[in-house]
């Protein structure tokens, strides 16, 4: 019954839009919440009746070839959680009825796009669903039609269209080399095609397109703009999961099960990862805008994941997937923090903040958890995944990269501490005396995400052995 991850949301878009808008607003909130939580439950508990039943009758009408492994499951779990959080945030942050309805429609489209991206087993279908997710995020970013949002959306659109052109050229060349587009056929065909120039060009172009999609240095230009300009619920979704699915996940999937981790691919991935870690961290140090700083730190964290994938040993891959999960959780947590600060203060400029913990205790405390987890402080979840990646790098003999990753996490700690001091701790800035804690939806989502970060960190041996 796995195709239902895609099909139920698909039919619910059509059915929900038949209702009048006033009713649909509440109905779609409940239904989307149910869908995302059901997805989390189905992945976390893995009931046999769901995963092992085949839809015989349905398959005659609609055949959906899919494959499920640990990476897919982790991604499905993250998608469920982040979509739920983004839904709660949209309730709190968007006041206009029409905009709310529009946002929920786009959220559903994006949910389907991401679920399908992680399930399909065909290079071209991957492109199709990446593009669906991307189109819904362009519209989400531009939704408020303010100047910044439109600019961010246009930049994102152009760069990601260039990325998809690169991916399409690669797909055409793969078609020339292997005659088909399914993962198996492409993998087998590439193994038979030797080391022709065309093989190298197609793999290189595909990876390059995915680097743009995941916002790695030197292709990161669009990412801070899009993240910081998007409306808050959209930026939670984008930073939390969209770039991870359409960039990092696809890169992992292709590198592991299609192209194979050849030494040159490994070297490329590790180099790009390391450059992203350091440039992202240094750029984050200099930012004065809360969301932009988080965006740069996101680039740096994605660098760790790519470094892990590039290392390629089993331990490193476990670390990379674990860090992907952790990053989805704590980055959404931090963006929810940013959203609640933005909602109460009306700005994300860090120079205008100070001592907010006194007025917004939940936001302040959960943000500390998120930040420390990002910086890799034990016993929070972010520590373990970074630790595993560094250990794996050391074991594989990449001492330079291991030391480098360790060093960069100190810079991470530095910029987060300086930000903490500016925004949440210290003396309450004058003019902020009347600030209240933000609305219930945001408080709940912050608390949930912070608890996940804490608990996963504390019981991490169980999490690692989860299959």
């Amino acid at each position: 019954m796995v195709p239902l991850f895609v099909l139920i949301p698909f039919f619910s878009i059509i059915i929900l839009n038949l209702f009048p808008k006033k009713l649909m607003q509440h109905l779609s909130f409940v239904w989307l919440g149910f869908l995302s939580l059901a997805q989390v439950y189905l992945v976390a508990a893995r009931p046999v009746w769901f995963w092992d039943t085949k839809l015989e009758l349905w398959n005659l009408l609609f055949s959906f070839r899919y494959s499920v492994d640990v990476i897919t499951l982790v991604m499905l779990l993250c998608i469920g959680i982040v979509v739920f959080i983004s839904l709660l945030a949209s309730r709190a942050m968007i006041s206009d009825v029409h905009q709310r309805v529009n946002f929920k429609n786009l959220l559903l489209v994006s949910l389907i796009g991401m679920n399908a991206t992680v399930l399909v087993t065909d290079v071209f279908s991957l492109y199709v669903f990446i593009e669906i997710t991307a189109v819904s995020s362009y519209i989400m970013i531009a939704m408020n039609k303010d100047r910044l949002g439109l600019e961010g959306a246009f930049k994102y659109l152009i760069l990601s269209a260039i990325a998809t052109v690169m991916m399409l050229v690669a797909i055409s060349l793969l078609l020339l080399l292997t005659g088909n587009t399914s993962f198996e056929a492409v993998g087998a065909g590439l193994a038979g095609a030797g080391n022709s120039l065309f093989v190298r060009v197609s793999i290189g172009l595909f990876l390059c397109g995915l680097f743009i999609k995941s916002g790695l240095v030197p292709f990161h230009g669009w990412l801070p703009d899009a993240y910081s300009a998007a409306p808050a619920p959209a930026s939670i979704l984008l930073a939390g999961i969209v770039t991870k699915v359409s960039g990092v996940y696809v890169l992992m999937r292709l590198a592991i099960s299609v192209f194979g981790l050849t030494p040159s691919v490994q070297a490329l991935l590790m180099f790009i990862g390391a450059v992203s870690i350091i440039i992202g961290a240094v750029a984050a140090l200099t930012q004065t805008d809360f969301k932009r700083m988080l965006a740069y730190s996101s680039i740096s964290q994605i660098g760790y994941i790519i470094l892990g994938v590039g290392c390629g040993t089993k331990l490193a891959l476990i670390g990379a997937v674990f860090h992907l999960f952790n990053h989805a959780i704590f980055k959404s947590l931090l963006f929810v923090n940013a959203a609640s600060v933005e909602k109460e203060l009306g700005t994300t400029d860090m120079d205008k903040m100070g001592g907010l913990t006194q007025r917004m205790p939940v936001t302040g405390i959960t943000s500390v958890i998120g930040l420390l987890s990002t910086a890799g402080i034990p016993p929070l979840s972010g520590f373990w995944s970074k630790f595993i990646i560094i250990i794996a790098l050391w074991q594989a003999g990449n001492f330079g990269y291991a030391a480098f990753a360790l060093l960069a996490s100190i810079i991470t700690l530095a910029y987060f501490l300086s930000m903490q001091r500016k925004v949440f701790f210290g003396k309450l800035r004058s003019g902020l005396e009347n600030i209240k804690e933000s609305s219930m939806g945001l408080i709940v989502s912050q608390a949930v995400l912070a608890i996940i970060t804490l608990v996963v960190g504390l019981i991490f041996p169980l999490v690692i052995s989860w299959r």
Partner: protein, 161 residues
């Protein structure tokens, strides 16, 4: 083959005209021309269905989209246009030079076609492939059209005064 060559040259000429022309509308016409030539080439490469799609959708619909977008935005006055033309001359004369250099490089450094032709699937009817083997892509098409509809609803609506 001779006809293909003529069409390819026509394609390049239309492309260059698209890039170099001053008026925005003419650039769109140039794009439509490129599309039309591409669709004839696609037809000559044994792919009639895709050619029909390319001709109707890309040469037709996309030009309509561009013209609509242009009509929503400003027109330049005559003197501004003249000014723009001079400005563009300075910027675009590089293009033919780059194209010639690049073309010579491409002819000189031909990559070797040193791989065997692959085994292809036995099913070769496009309609069968779409309707029996690529259901997922069909679902994707419906979904992206839905996304486009939401986009039009959100973006083209006049802002409240």
């Amino acid at each position: 083959m001779a006809l293909n060559l003529i069409l390819l040259v026509l394609l390049l000429v239309a492309g260059i005209w698209t890039v170099l022309t001053t008026r925005l509308v003419r650039s769109v016409v140039g794009l439509a021309l490129v599309s039309a030539v591409v669709s004839i080439l696609i037809f000559r490469l044994n792919s009639p269905l895709a050619a029909a799609f390319e001709l109707s959708v890309c040469a037709g619909l996309i030009s309509v989209i561009f013209v609509t977008t242009i009509s929503f935005t400003q027109r330049l006055t005559a003197e501004r246009l003249e000014e723009r033309r001079k400005e563009r001359l300075g910027k675009y004369w590089y293009l033919p030079v780059i194209l010639i250099i690049f073309g010579i490089l491409l002819v000189v450094f031909k990559p070797k076609l040193d791989f065997p032709l692959p085994q292809v699937p036995s099913e070769q009817d496009t309609r069968n492939i779409i309707w029996h083997m690529r259901h997922v892509d069909l679902l994707g098409q419906i979904l992206i059209i839905l996304a486009g509809v939401f986009g039009v609803v959100i973006l083209f609506k006049e802002p409240k005064k």
